[in-house]
Amino acid sequence: MIFGTGIIKGMLVTLKAFLASYFKGPHEGGIFTVEYPEKRLAEKERFRNFPFLLYDQTPENLRCVACDICAKECPPKCIYIVRDFDKEGRPLKRPAIFDIDFTVCMNCGICEEACPFDAIFMDHEFEIAGPDRQNKMLYHRDDLLKSNEYFNKIRPTDAGAIDARRREAEEKKKAAAAQAVKAKTTQPQPEPPKT
């Protein structure tokens, strides 16, 4: 074999790529990259990056009940929750503080998996770089809030399934409550115990 044939064959491969970049489409060996800020690739539905808190209808109506499970399960412990109290000092079912430190969060999605109240989900937002590490990278409760419509928009399959499940559970609950009320009214008065 003549010295250099391998080199020449290799050079033909690069030449082919060079010509293909002008004359071929992205799936035939041409340029397949996307000019990023102007064009974007379609997002995958399961793509996960940074959690958000879900609310129904209004921001006051958030699903989180400050149970602290996600904070405990979070592998790097980036979630910090303080429960809200009312004026009498009784605990309320909502967080007063819900902070996530983005510099610590590793986007693993375990909070979403562990949450029993369907309150925290992983977002599709990924352009969250910023120059301020101290203030901008610590997300507070109000920065994290996102509506259910938004969730339905970014992850239609998951959101649809969850909504259906919740509706079903609610209907069951309602039915159970109605049954209980019905039972209460129709139930004959128990006879007073004999003394």
Binding site: F3, G4, T5, G6, I7, K9, G10, L12, V13, T14, A17, F32, K44, E45, R46, F47, R48, I69, K72, E73, C74, P75, M106, N107, C108, G109, I110, E113, A114, P116, M122, T157
Partner: protein
Amino acid sequence: MMEKMFEVQDPVNHDTQTLQVNIGPQHPSTHGVFRMNVVLDGETVVSLKPVMGYLHRNHEQIAENISYTASMPYTDRLDYFNSMSNNFAWALAVEKLANLDVPERAQYIRVIMAELTRLVNHVSVIGFLLNDLGAFFTPVLYAFREREKILDIFEEVSGARMMCNFLRFGGIKRDLPAGTLERIKEVIQNFPKFLDEFETLLTKNEILCMRCQNVGVLPAELAVNASITGPMLRASGVNYDVRKADKYSIYDRFDFKIPLGQTGDVYDRYYCRVLEMRESLKILQQALRDIPVTGEIISKKMAPFVKAPRNFKPPVGEAYGRVEAPKGELGFYVVSDGTPQPWRYHVRAPSLINLTILEDLCIGHKVADAIVILGSIDIVLGEVDH
């Protein structure tokens, strides 16, 4: 080789000085923050000391303080090229510990993901090896073009391209979305074409052959004694592959071969990887053919702990789970004391153990070869320093 070294270095006959150079931690081709303390005689390496630990992240200690499931995303970050096979090894260890069975469909999905990971790893390693050889990024970018398609599948399946966090004990996190298997089939169909092109570019290239052949020869005996695993060991001609030796998961169902080199030099390591990719494609084809259409994805025993990982308390005992990761034998040793956290957690990181042989391979070669040998060992600093 040793004689040659002293011949060159002899200070009586040659009035020369050696030159001590720190290659790294900031250097274009140390594959991360890794330092080689090299003593050079002219261009020849006289001694080489690998200095590692710049990326030490306390991996084992962290794992001993969090729940078993919470370690899963941390294993992604060991060898960030192959998060799926890292997940696999950790899942196997805990399944052994807690005696969990894995449903059929989940087994197949695991194998498919692990083999796709092997393609990703080998293809990019070859690209980077060529970068170390001085090819100006072309092989890397060709490799990345193909890698990107597989990473897209990972993203579709698990939500992240590299930090997949997809496997769970006794199964997988979620079932595949609709249409993914077809896309995997498509990628696998196009992959051999790409490999052929890649080989035309590289395998017969005279400069590559000159640079790689008979450089950094690792004799089989030394390789076994230094407990080298993975493609590096097989390039030296030792027939050892955990997939065949241990037959973990469902690897006994597939028909595939183990490519073996003869010389154990950089070229053999390169070419064994190419051949391994071709074998991986065979496994993938068989797995895609046999995978059950529907089925459970997580074992019944484990299902209650999906929503509450901290309640998962494996029985007291110890277990060692290992897989043939693309870089070698990746093993997790775990001791449980019945609490939600492991009592002891240890990683057998193939990169770290393969790297220990670096000095023996490099002495007597030129400094340019030392870089190439380092590239051929295939390290990821996340795993070396864990």
